[in-house]
Every structure is written in structure tokens, then in C-alpha cells.
């Protein structure tokens, strides 16, 4: 049995892996293994990335996309957590909504984009609502599972101490269910980003996805790579942030 | 420790010579076993008892060939090289294949042998009868109780007809009643087959009831510190045996020895 490497070792290995890829990439591009259209040099990508940052187009696109993603995620959280808890508390509510959720959950939400564009146009509103629509499912399902699993003993104890229903919700159910709800949010975050970017790629209307498609249409490879790398880094940073938040509050994970 | 020799060949069935085993620890290596010497004759039923964490299971895993250690481990005079079908193992956690039925679990070891299919089925069915699980052949482990699972585990090991049985706290996960039933089963099987058995247990009663030799292991790093030879009349029913003076005298002696080691272990932990 091998000893598990420490965090430090893992970070070093990540850096090495990335460096190896970058070096190979640069070498392959310089050696002319592929045309600059297919594989622009890493240095060219970085240069282009710097340009689009400096002229403000990348930052503004990024802000637009992030705004849409977070707005949609926020709406999905409000609706999703609310509905999930309602479904856990009331068998009637569960009975009403469960078939709809089960039916729509496996379907690709992006297929509904044309409906949202039809109703709300091609700019931010339709995208925010689509993101909300896509993210609400994992959140509802996760919240419902978490809320129904809240230890009955705790609820009974609270009742016997004279707790009102609303207090019960906020002081017992939510704190107990929160770790799993947060886990569902962590899953929903990449969904919000993917849905935003894809909706922008399909429907235009500004944002990272739209600019990405635009540069592809004009065969601006370095720009394409620059945007993709930015999306990758942003995704990594956001997930790391969620992880940091999660570990900063030990009560928020593990079996509370 | 006196070596107990085999009557037929003069070479003990199992020889453990100066076996030491250490694990990498947080700060420095942890020595689990220190220069353990032991011999087991053919047909003996030896139990190793001792405080928790003293390394008794480690010794069994070394003998089973799952762990490497310093020193020599010989079976029939030859050094062992990894696990083998000559040493059947029964773990506390059953280790049944959950995706195989009772019958297929038992057939598993047989399929690696050279027997004809009809012969294999015959042996498997006979064993299923021996462990009393007729009618459950096509059930999956998840449908069985703990006691039933352990019976299947024993049958599966017996199917390969190993000369040696290594049992690692085989009944530790069972409730008290089931444990007693299983002990009787095991005794019956051993009396019938007379295999060489090495059992790890923390239950002194169990050790005295089943074995004809008990080795007491010290706290970590484990060493054999005392040996007891048990000579009880096992034809007496369990109720009478457990109430007899001979049983209780032996049991008390062993228990005191183990207790001394357990207390020493506590002092060790408190001091650390």
C-alpha cells in the first residue's frame, strides 16, 4: 500500500502536469506540426488574451456571462430550496411536482432555449431564466433528499419543546439539511456556467459564448483558445472558492 | 517456545521464525510484530489471544501471504510466496463476493482446480448441506444474515480443501447466540477434518473451548509471551463443559494472562 501524497505533493504534480502540457503545446506549434489555425502557439494565445483583456472586451464578456450565470443560479436556489423543502414537508406538494421533475430531469435543458428566446428575446433575460430552469432540478432534488432525511428525532424534540413551524424550518431543518444542499449547489454551479456559455453560443446576445462563436467564424484561433482557457480558469477558481467556503464552515459538511 | 513436531515427518506444519513487521507511521515506523517465533503441528488448533492492536491479525496476514515481513515463514518446510490455496482464510468481514450467489461463491475456488464440473457441483452441494444452508443456494449475500454469511465464507474456504485454516476473528461480527452456534459448527468441522487451524480471537472462552493450544501475545510490538496447552474432553456437551472445573481453571489462567497484557498495553498507551 502506497502512502498517499500530501497536499503539497499533489499541488506540485498539478503544476508539473500543466507545465508539461504547455511546453509540449508550444513545441508542437513552433515545430509546425499543425497549422497555426489548428494549434496556435501558446505564446500567441497568451498575447491575444492580453490584448482582449486590455481592450476590455474579454472582461466585459466575462462579466456579462457571470452575471447571467449567477442571477440564474440565485433564482434557482430560491425556488429550488423552497420547493425542495415544501416537497419534503408536504406529501401533497411532493405528489404534484414529482412527476414533472422526474420527466424533465433527464432532458437536455438546452433544448428549451428556443422557447426562452421566443418568450424573452436573445439578451440576458432569456439566458438567466434558462440557467435558472436548468439549475433548479439538481437543487430541488438535492434539497428534497436532504430535507426528508433530517432526523425525525430532532424534529420531534423540537416540537416537544414548543417550536413553531417556521422556527422549526429555520433552526432545525435548514441547518441539518444545509451540507447536502450546499453540495447540490456546488453541482449546480458548473451547470449554470455551461448553460450560460452554450446559450450564448447558440443564441448570441453578447457574453463569452457569443464572442467565442464570433472568433470561430472569423477563424481567429488564438482568440478561441484564449476564451476557452479563460472559461476553464474561471470554472476552476469558482469551484475552488465553493470548496473553500465549504471547508471554512465545518458544520456545513459531513454528517451534521 | 517449544517446537511441537509432527509425528510423521518430524517437520512442523507451520514454522514462524523471527518474524518482524513494521508499518510506516506518522513520525516513525511502527513495529507491529517483533521477532515472533512459533511452530504449529499438523492437526493442531491454535488460538492467538491478546490485547487489541497487539498485532495478532498482522501475524495471520503474514502467514496468509498477504503482507511481507522480515524473518521466515515456512509451510511444510518451504518458504511461502504470497497467498495460496493451501492456506484457506476466513475474515471477520466475510469477504464474500456480493455479485455471486451462495453456490457460486463456494464454487469459486473449485473452478480454479482441475476437477470435472459434476464433481465440483457435488462438492459444493455437499458443503452447502454441511453448513446447513440447503435452499439458499441461489441467494445473494445481501439476502443473508451475518451468521449465514460466515457459514458461506467457511464453506467457500473448505471447498478448496486447504490443509491449513487461518481464521481472523471469524465470529467477531456476530451476536452472542449466533457466535455460540458457529463455534459448535467450527468444532465439529475441525474434529471431522482435523485440519491445522490458526485462529485469532479476543474471546478467551472461545479460545479455550475450541483450541488445543493457546498463545498469548503481548501488547505492541507483538510477541508470544505465554503458551497454554489445552486438553479438554470435547465430547462433553457445551453446557457441561463450560460449567466444569477443568474448563474454568484453564479459562481463568488464560484470562489472567491476557489481562496482564491488556493492562500493560494501557500503561503503554497512557505513557505515550
Amino acid at each position: 500500500m502506497e502512502k498517499e501524497p500530501g497536499k503539497r505533493a499533489l499541488q506540485i504534480r498539478s503544476v508539473i502536469s500543466v507545465l508539461v502540457i504547455v511546453v509540449l503545446w508550444e513545441a508542437a506549434a513552433r515545430a509546425g506540426l499543425a497549422s497555426p489555425l489548428f494549434l496556435p502557439a501558446f505564446t500567441a494565445v497568451v498575447a491575444e488574451w492580453w490584448t482582449v483583456c486590455a481592450d476590455g472586451s474579454l472582461p466585459s464578456d466575462l462579466l456579462t456571462s457571470l452575471f447571467r450565470a449567477f442571477a440564474g443560479l440565485f433564482a434557482a436556489t430560491l425556488v429550488g430550496v423552497g420547493l425542495g423543502i415544501a416537497m419534503a414537508r408536504s406529501r401533497l406538494v411532493h405528489w404534484i411536482f414529482d412527476p414533472v421533475i422526474a420527466l424533465a430531469f433527464p432532458s437536455p435543458k438546452i433544448a428549451f432555449l428556443p422557447i426562452f428566446i421566443l418568450w424573452f428575446g436573445i439578451y440576458s433575460t432569456s439566458k438567466i431564466l434558462l440557467v435558472a430552469f436548468a439549475c433548479v432540478f439538481p437543487i430541488v432534488i438535492g434539497t428534497y433528499a436532504a430535507a426528508s432525511a433530517v432526523n425525525r428525532v430532532w424534529i420531534w424534540s423540537a416540537y416537544s419543546l414548543g417550536t413553531s413551524n417556521l422556527t422549526l424550518l429555520f433552526r432545525v431543518v435548514l441547518p441539518a439539511a444545509w451540507p447536502r444542499i450546499f453540495a447540490a449547489l456546488r453541482v449546480a454551479l458548473p451547470v449554470s456556467l455551461i448553460t450560460t456559455f452554450t446559450a450564448e453560443m447558440v443564441g448570441g446576445g453578447g457574453g463569452m459564448g457569443a464572442s467565442l462563436m464570433y472568433s470561430q467564424r472569423f477563424f481567429e484561433s488564438p482568440t478561441v483558445f484564449a476564451y476557452i482557457l479563460t472559461m476553464l480558469v474561471v470554472g476552476l477558481l469558482l469551484d475552488a472558492m465553493m470548496l473553500r467556503i465549504q471547508t471554512a464552515f465545518p458544520a456545513w459538511h459531513g454528517n451534521a | 517456545m517449544r517446537a511441537v513436531t509432527d509425528e510423521t515427518t518430524g517437520v512442523p506444519k507451520i514454522q514462524i521464525q523471527a518474524v518482524s513487521k513494521s508499518y510506516p507511521g506518522d513520525k516513525s515506523p511502527v513495529l507491529a510484530l517483533r521477532a515472533v517465533d512459533m511452530s504449529i503441528s499438523e492437526g493442531e488448533f491454535v488460538s492467538i489471544v491478546g490485547p487489541s492492536g497487539c498485532g495478532k491479525s498482522t501475524l495471520l496476514y503474514v502467514l496468509g501471504g498477504f503482507l511481507e515481513a522480515d524473518g521466515k515463514v515456512l509451510v511444510d518446510g518451504k518458504a511461502i510466496r504470497g497467498p495460496g490455496t493451501d492456506r484457506g482464510v476466513v475474515f471477520q468481514e466475510y469477504a464474500l463476493f456480493p455479485w455471486l450467489t451462495v453456490r457460486n461463491n463456494i464454487l469459486y475456488g473449485l473452478e480454479r482446480g482441475a476437477l470435472a464440473p459434476e464433481e465440483r457441483t457435488r462438492i459444493a452441494d455437499r458443503l452447502i448441506g454441511v453448513i446447513g444452508l440447503k435452499g439458499f443456494e441461489d441467494r445473494y449475500p445481501r439476502e443473508l444474515s451475518g451468521g449465514m454469511k460466515q457459514r458461506v465464507a467457511i464453506a467457500r474456504t473448505l471447498a478448496c480443501d486447504p490443509a491449513i485454516l487461518l481464521l481472523d476473528e471469524p465470529f467477531g461480527a456476530l451476536d452472542a447466540q449466533t457466535r455460540e452456534v458457529m463455534q459448535d459448527e467450527l468444532l465439529r468441522i475441525w474434529l471431522e477434518t482435523r485440519k491445522t487451524v490458526l485462529m485469532i480471537t479476543h474471546d478467551v472462552n472461545e479460545a479455550v473451548y475450541l483450541s488445543n493450544r493457546i498463545c498469548v501475545m503481548s501488547a505492541r510490538p507483538g510477541q508470544i509471551v505465554e503458551e497454554f496447552k489445552i486438553d479438554l474432553d470435547r465430547t462433553i456437551p457445551r453446557e457441561k463443559l463450560f460449567l466444569s472445573d477443568a474448563f474454568n481453571k484453564t479459562r481463568n489462567e488464560v484470562w489472567i494472562s491476557v489481562r496482564q497484557q491488556a493492562l500493560a498495553a494501557e500503561r503503554l498507551n497512557a505513557g505515550v
Binding site: I96, L238 | L96, Y140
Partner: protein, 264 residues
């Protein structure tokens, strides 16, 4: 939790569809009152008509087939590669050490972002779609396979060895069967991804496929047909998911959670 038995009918498979039917009726009623512009929200009846048209015509069947074929190929290749990668990572610590950061890194990248890149490389068409689906299905399969193999209890491994299993047999006799439940879980996730990426890629740029069809209907203002095509997608996604669940239940009869499986 027991309910009184008069509610049992509501929990039967048919009873559970009542809310859906009720929603459909409410929808139909709203459409009939013309509260909403019918082109924005066609009535269920009109969508039904459109669906019948589509299904009897060649158009939707051909395009649906194309989409499903692309998704299936990508799913099959991605899953196979994912299982292989997961196995390698579980069996070789060195491999894992260097692959893990890369695998973890791709988690955060929306695979649909690579579609424009693939268009640049492969042009518009099947290769792009299959590539996108392939990459999307890879990650869940790698992670789940790895988890399934790495979590094999050592007593299971040791037990198998003591029964005479040779090293080269361990993979098929012990590790893969043990990993099977996790692999199926990963497969369900990958199935969902395959639909998302196939449709996304077709909507972004394609000459055929149901994603393209939906988009086209939208652009041409044939909203009845657009809704109908989307409904088809929803139904197909639901049905394939259920089929996979059925297959899972069949293959995993022996698994502890066999009694609980089946929920969404």
C-alpha cells in the same frame, strides 16, 4: 411512511401521472381563452397535431436518428475510454499521480465551450458532435470507475487471492464486478451529458439533427413544430433514462441498494 390506503391509488404509476395530466388540461384551458398569444404558447392540442405530423413524416425521424446515433457513438467511446482510464488510475499510483490533476481540471471546463474549437478543427458535422459527446462522457466514467475500483475492500482482494485467483484474473473476477454499481451510476450521468452535448452542438452549428431542427423551426416561426420537436426530445431522454435504470436493476440484482433503486 404509511399513508392511509385510500391514497394508495395516487401512488400507483397511473395515479402519479395525474398531476401531469392536470397541468396539461390547465394549459389547454389557458390556450383556449386566448389569454396568451397562441404563437407564443401553442395549446397542447396543436402541439399534439404537430407531433403526429412530424412523426409520420420522415423529417423528425431522420434527424432524431442522426442525433441519437451521434450521442450513442460518443457515449460508447467515451464510456469505454473512461472506464479504461479509471482502471489505470486505480491500479497504477504513478499514472494516477499525473493524470489526476488533468482529470480534475477538465471538470471545470464546460465541454460545450470546446465545440467552436472542434468546428475549427473538424468543420460542421458529425465529427464535432461525437468529439464533444466523447469528452463530456469521459469524466463521469473515469471518476466513477476509479471510485468503484479503489474502494474494493482489501479482504475481498485477499480472499480472492487465497482462493487461487491469479494476478491477471483479478481485474475481471474482482475489481470490475465490484466497480459495476459505480460504473452504472457514471453511465447514467454520461447518458444525460451525451444528450446535452449532442443537442448543443447541433444547435450551435450543424446541418442536421434534432437540435438543428428545433432551431430551424424557431427561426421560421413554426412554433407548433418547435414545441413538438422539443417534446420529442424530452420524451426520448426520459425513456432512455428509464431503460438504463431497468438495465441497471437487472444487472445489479445482487447489490445492497437493489430494493431502493428506481427513483429519479
Amino acid at each position: 411512511m404509511q399513508g392511509s390506503d385510500r391514497y394508495a391509488v395516487f401512488r400507483s404509476p397511473v395515479g402519479r401521472m395525474i398531476p401531469l395530466v392536470a397541468m396539461g388540461l390547465i394549459w389547454q384551458a389557458i390556450s383556449a381563452t386566448k389569454l396568451v398569444d397562441p404563437s407564443f404558447l401553442p395549446s397542447p392540442v396543436r402541439i399534439g397535431h404537430a407531433m403526429v405530423d412530424l412523426l409520420t413524416g420522415r423529417e423528425i425521424r431522420d434527424n432524431l436518428f442522426v442525433t441519437l446515433a451521434r450521442a450513442a457513438i460518443g457515449l460508447a467511446l467515451g464510456s469505454a475510454a473512461g472506464v479504461w482510464l479509471g482502471l489505470m488510475m486505480a491500479r497504477s499510483p504513478t499514472f494516477r499521480a499525473y493524470a489526476a490533476p488533468i482529470v480534475g481540471g477538465t471538470y471545470s471546463l464546460p465541454k460545450s465551450a470546446l465545440i467552436p474549437l472542434f468546428i475549427l478543427w473538424f468543420g460542421i458535422g458529425t465529427a464535432t458532435t461525437v468529439c464533444a459527446v466523447f469528452l463530456a462522457c469521459l469524466l463521469p466514467m473515469v471518476v466513477n470507475t476509479f471510485q468503484g475500483v479503489a474502494s474494493t475492500p482489501r479482504v475481498l482482494v485477499w480472499g480472492a487471492q487465497a482462493l487461487g485467483t491469479r494476478p491477471r484474473e483479478m481485474l475481471w473476477q474482482v475489481f470490475l464486478p465490484h466497480a459495476l454499481p459505480d460504473i452504472f451510476t457514471g453511465l447514467r450521468v454520461a447518458l444525460g451529458f451525451s444528450f446535452v452535448l449532442a443537442i448543443s452542438s447541433e444547435m450551435i452549428a450543424s446541418t442536421n439533427g434534432i437540435g438543428k431542427l428545433i432551431f430551424m423551426y424557431g427561426e421560421n416561426g413554426a412554433y407548433d413544430y418547435m414545441f413538438a420537436a422539443i417534446a420529442c426530445v424530452v420524451v426520448v431522454a426520459f425513456v432512455t433514462d428509464r431503460l438504463l435504470l431497468l438495465l441497471t436493476r437487472k444487472c445489479l440484482r445482487w447489490h445492497e441498494s437493489a430494493t431502493e433503486r428506481g427513483a429519479a
